[in-house]
């Protein structure tokens, strides 16, 4: 019985590797934090994409919108990351806003440190479910999200989409889905997660 389970695990691992190679791109990894919070670590290969590298070196902000859609009930949550290289201070100014609107801003001295920070899990959603099936969309946009932030505020005030508290993350994710600037590139992954 134990041997069968081991074989299944190995087979699952191999199929995962094969699937990843077939798509020709790395996938995010996921962790479950206390309170049923699902966090994702985006692959560093995103930062190394040629178009993304070009935008990152432009001295202007590059925005990464990460939307997590529950494929069973359609619920949407997400997070946002903004990265700008300050040409004169020669530091990376990074900022992330997670699903609960918690924001964090840092100045990072080197590309290596940026990649290390990039590997910090990004909190996407909270759930009580034992398993969750997610579609993760990551969209890379030029310029900062300030204008989209304005639209988010309007949508929140209008009552049409956003509400206070738990709905805030939904609004951020919706911004990513509907008010895109011309995207530089985008990624989509489907994942099945067991939280127990």
């Amino acid at each position: 019985m134990v041997r069968l389970r081991t074989v299944l695990r190995v087979a699952l691992f191999i199929s995962f590797i094969v699937a990843a190679l077939a798509h020709g791109q790395a996938r995010p990894t996921f962790t479950v934090q206390p309170g049923g919070i699902v966090a994702a670590t985006l692959p560093v290969s995103i930062l190394n994409d040629s178009d993304v590298r070009k935008q990152l070196s432009s001295g202007l902000t590059t925005t990464f919108l990460v939307a997590a859609r529950n494929r069973v009930n359609g619920a949407v949550s997400g997070a946002r990351v903004e990265v700008r290289y300050d040409l004169w201070d020669e530091v990376w100014i990074v900022r992330k806003v997670e699903f609960d609107r918690k924001a964090e801003q840092q100045r990072i001295a080197s590309r290596e440190a940026l990649e290390k920070w990039w590997r910090t899990p990004l909190r996407l959603l909270a759930t009580n479910a034992a398993t969750v099936s997610l579609q993760i969309d990551t969209t890379v946009l030029p310029f900062s999200a300030a204008e989209r932030e304005d639209a988010r505020q309007w949508m929140s005030k209008s009552g049409g989409v956003g509400t206070a508290g738990s709905g805030a993350g939904i609004v951020d994710a919706l911004i990513g889905a509907t008010i895109n600037a011309k995207p530089i590139t985008s990624y989509r992954w489907n994942v099945e997660l067991s939280l127990k």
């Binding site: 070196s57 432009s58 001295g59 202007l60 902000t61 700008r84 040409l87 004169w88 100014i93 900022r95 806003v97 924001a103 801003q105 030029p142 310029f143 900062s144 300030a146 204008e147 932030e149 304005d150 639209a151 505020q153 309007w154 949508m155 209008s158 889905a177 509907t178 008010i179 895109n180 600037a181 011309k182 995207p183 590139t185 985008s186």
Partner: protein, 439 residues
């Protein structure tokens, strides 16, 4: 009932369009701990072969030596992407001469010097069974132009010549639609104000009495802000008609019109002809004068015999139209839109014949929703686009005729319209081919 519904729908759409638009103007990136401002000491334009650096800089509305936020730079990038002679404009910063100063590098991809813009999208309606073939009321592809074929040459630092053929159909009750051969010149950044002025000479060829005369048009665009423009137009058109022979007497038919308009527009869309995101709102008051000499009834003899002779008609008209639309990108290939238009006019017609003077008050209103899907990937869209568009609209027109001492006529119709089109955009131009049905 229908009108009430339409007014409510237009008001709702206006709310959708206008509120975020105003919010964008006043809101600040409140959550940015350190909102970035960039002092731009110099603007460099790269990969431009035909269009000059000064034209690009003028149309971006940015100025060297001033500091801009990312939102303002983003607006400038969007504004350049709406220019008909650019396919794309990418922004990047480089270090300037000293700390805190930057060089803004704008890398552009240009269209070809020869261009076309064709919007062929007839709406077959139940009224067309009576011999009327309506063109789509909504024409976002080029304002009031249904077709343009021509070429553009940039000259000097801030100038451009253009020549070609264009067709005008502005949906006004009180103006003449026509096709004309045109030649003109545009001066960008007039007196360093970022305004532009275009002088065009035209000669009507088709759809209207052909003329040997050349008539002028002057268009001046004045920037109010990054997103707002006031466009002033003076447009004179002289038509020369045919010669009619009635009972051995010949009559020369001639006509001409003069239009003066001022269009205020707020535009954050991403494309001149095929927007997929952003907002556009415009208000356009128009004053028009038309004069026409034709053959008409000048007298009725005591034995009830009509006598025809040259009759001059003079029409003073005033109209105002409002147009608003908002576009949302759903994905890199799909977008939806919602929009509304409305217009009102007063036409006061006087003539020298025995026909009773007429005052008309035409109105129109329309609301529409649309969906478009590109067949090309994002990478391919850098070189153009190929997409399908689906639109569903509701339009109402009302034309009241008031004739003192006679009678009042009312000509009104409401119609639902569904249309489908394929649009192809390339470095040469844009073509939209489609068909619709109204009922």
């Amino acid at each position: 009932m229908t009108r009430t519904f339409l007014i409510a729908l237009i008001a709702l759409i206006a709310l959708i369009v206008a509120v975020p638009a105003s919010a964008q103007d006043v809101a600040e990136p409140a959550q940015d701990a350190v909102p970035a401002q960039f002092l731009i000491e110099r603007i460099e334009v790269r990969e431009a072969k035909r269009v000059t650096r000064d034209v690009i800089v003028a149309e971006s509305r940015l100025r060297e030596g001033e500091a801009y936020s990312e939102t303002e730079l983003s607006d400038a990038a969007a504004r350049l992407s709406r220019l008909p002679f650019l396919l794309s404009a990418d922004f990047a910063l480089e270090k300037g001469s000293e700390r805190g100063r930057h060089v803004l590098v704008i890398t552009v991809a240009e269209t070809k010097p020869f261009f076309y813009l064709l919007d062929i999208r007839p709406i077959l309606s139940e009224r067309s069974t009576e011999g009327q073939l309506d063109l789509d009321f909504s024409d976002r592809i080029g304002g009031d132009q249904e077709g343009v074929v021509g070429a553009r040459w940039f000259v000097g630092r801030r100038g451009a010549f253009h020549a070609g053929l264009f067709t005008r159909n502005d949906r006004h009750e009180f103006t003449q639609d026509y096709t004309a051969a045109v030649i003109g010149y545009t001066q960008y950044d007039v007196l360093g104000t970022r305004a532009f002025a275009t002088i065009t000479l035209k000669r009507p060829l088709l759809d209207a009495p052909v003329s040997d005369e050349i008539s002028p048009q002057l268009v001046v665009g004045i920037p109010v802000s990054m997103k707002q423009t006031v466009t002033l137009t003076y447009d004179e058109t002289r038509f020369e008609g045919d010669i009619r022979v009635v009972e051995g007497s010949s009559f020369q038919r001639t006509s001409g019109e003069r239009l003066v308009s001022a269009r205020w527009s707020y535009n954050t869309t991403n494309h001149p002809f095929l927007p997929t995101r952003g907002t556009v709102v415009s208000v356009t008051p128009v004053v028009a004068w038309r004069d026409r000499v034709s053959l008409g009834l000048v007298e009725v003899t005591p034995d009830d015999r009509p006598v025809f002779g040259p009759v001059s008609f003079h029409t003073n008209s005033f109209g105002v139209s409002v147009d608003m639309a908002r576009y949302f990108e759903l994905s890199e290939q799909s977008s939806v839109s919602v929009g509304a238009e409305a217009g009102w006019g007063q036409i006061d017609e006087r003539n020298s014949g025995i026909t009773i003077p007429t005052v008309r008050n035409p109105t129109f209103a329309a609301a529409q929703v649309g969906y478009s899907h590109s067949l090309w990937t994002r990478e391919q869209q850098k070189r153009g686009d190929s997409r399908f568009e689906y639109q569903l609209g509701y339009i109402t027109r009302d034309r009241d005729f008031e004739q003192p001492f006679a009678f009042t006529l009312n000509d009104e119709y409401d119609e639902l319209q569904a249309s489908f089109a394929w649009v192809r955009r390339s470095s040469f131009g844009t073509i939209r081919l489609g068909v619709g049905y109204g009922w």
